[in-house]
């Protein structure tokens, strides 16, 4: 039993070391024929588990980029928009909690299909604030 718990402890440490030492990356992709630059209004759907207000950070950053944006818990906005935004945030602990990965998708409001996506991964030593992660991912999405 003690040997087993040693295995688990060492495996956790090794996995943590890999996560801490990996390289930062940012990447994006767009559906064929998608033009994200013609999109002017957005609605960000809050992830039910997200209690850090990432949806508000995304909406605020979109507004700072000169675009109209709102956010909320509902799957659909009250007013029509050009695109619906979804996201997944992943967090790790290393002295403090930090966002290790943020993925953002733009959906067509009619079909629900993903038309573009971007994501950034930043291990502990290259961590950024949630605002910094949002800025990086949206910059990549609209580049």
């Amino acid at each position: 039993m003690e040997v087993m718990s040693n295995y688990i402890r060492m495996a956790s440490l090794a996995w943590a070391a890999i996560l801490l030492g990996a390289c930062a990356s940012v990447e994006s992709a767009r559906a064929p024929d998608a033009n994200v630059h013609k999109l002017k209004s957005f609605y960000v759907v809050r992830v039910p588990e997200d209690e850090r207000g990432i949806e508000k950070l995304i909406a605020a950053r979109l507004e700072k980029m000169g675009l109209a944006a709102s956010s909320g818990d509902a799957d659909r906005p009250a007013e029509p928009v050009d695109a619906i935004v979804t996201y997944q945030d992943r967090w790790m602990w290393d002295i403090t909690m930090y966002m290790i990965k943020l993925s953002v998708q733009l959906h067509d409001p009619q079909s629900g299909a993903v038309i573009a996506r971007a994501e950034a991964t930043r291990p502990s030593l290259q961590r950024k604030s949630p605002q910094g992660m949002v800025e990086e991912v949206l910059g990549e999405l609209f580049k």
């Binding site: 003690e2 996995w15 767009r30 064929p32 992943r90 990965k101 299909a113 993903v114």
Partner: protein, 178 residues
């Protein structure tokens, strides 16, 4: 002393296991081929397939699904099901594109669930009209018992989510009126 020996043995065993299984491997096309039961030659024409939005796997990163692997799995699933008369590399009557819009993976865990979203579009290459489009969501959980190494469980979860996604897409496409 006995405890110390156990500790050293644990470290040695773990080092061996890590060296054998820590590197991420890409999702395999053959493991993503979907079992679909539909009428043979349901669509009496040929098709060309292209996939975008996938990612390549780096040995130190997480297992990913590449465009080429997903396209190959999609092609083999279509051929196995006999949905079209044939799959060509170009010059076909229909063009089927798949855009991998989301592959939501856990960072770690015993059971690993991958959620996947792919948008499929079938176009008539003669008229350039979209004749069918569908956004498909799927997920698959690789349980702790599926593999010892986390990178292996993640690959299995990727492959399961992709297999289910292709199965749902082809089942829907088989029922569509073109």
């Amino acid at each position: 002393m006995n405890g110390m020996m156990q500790h050293v043995k644990s470290i040695a065993a773990l080092a061996a296991l890590l060296s054998l299984g820590a590197c991420a491997t890409a999702s395999k096309p053959e493991a993503m081929v979907a079992p679909v039961t539909i009428p043979v030659n349901k669509i009496a024409a040929d098709v060309v397939i292209s996939v975008s939005g996938g990612k390549d796997t780096s040995s130190m990163g997480a297992s990913q699904i590449s465009n080429a692997a997903f396209a190959q799995a999609l092609q083999e699933s279509i051929e196995k099901a006999g949905l079209f008369t044939s799959v060509k590399s170009d010059g076909a009557r229909y063009s089927l594109t798949g855009f991998i819009g989301k592959v939501d993976q856990p960072m770690m865990g015993f059971s690993m669930t991958v959620k996947m979203e792919v948008t499929y579009t079938l176009k008539d290459t003669q008229s350039n009209a979209t004749v069918w489009t569908k956004d498909i969501n799927s997920e698959y959980t690789a349980k702790a018992s599926a593999a010892f190494a986390g990178v292996e469980r993640l690959r299995l979860a990727n492959e399961g989510a992709a297999r289910e996604n292709i199965r749902l897409a082809l089942t829907d496409l088989a029922g569509a009126t073109l």
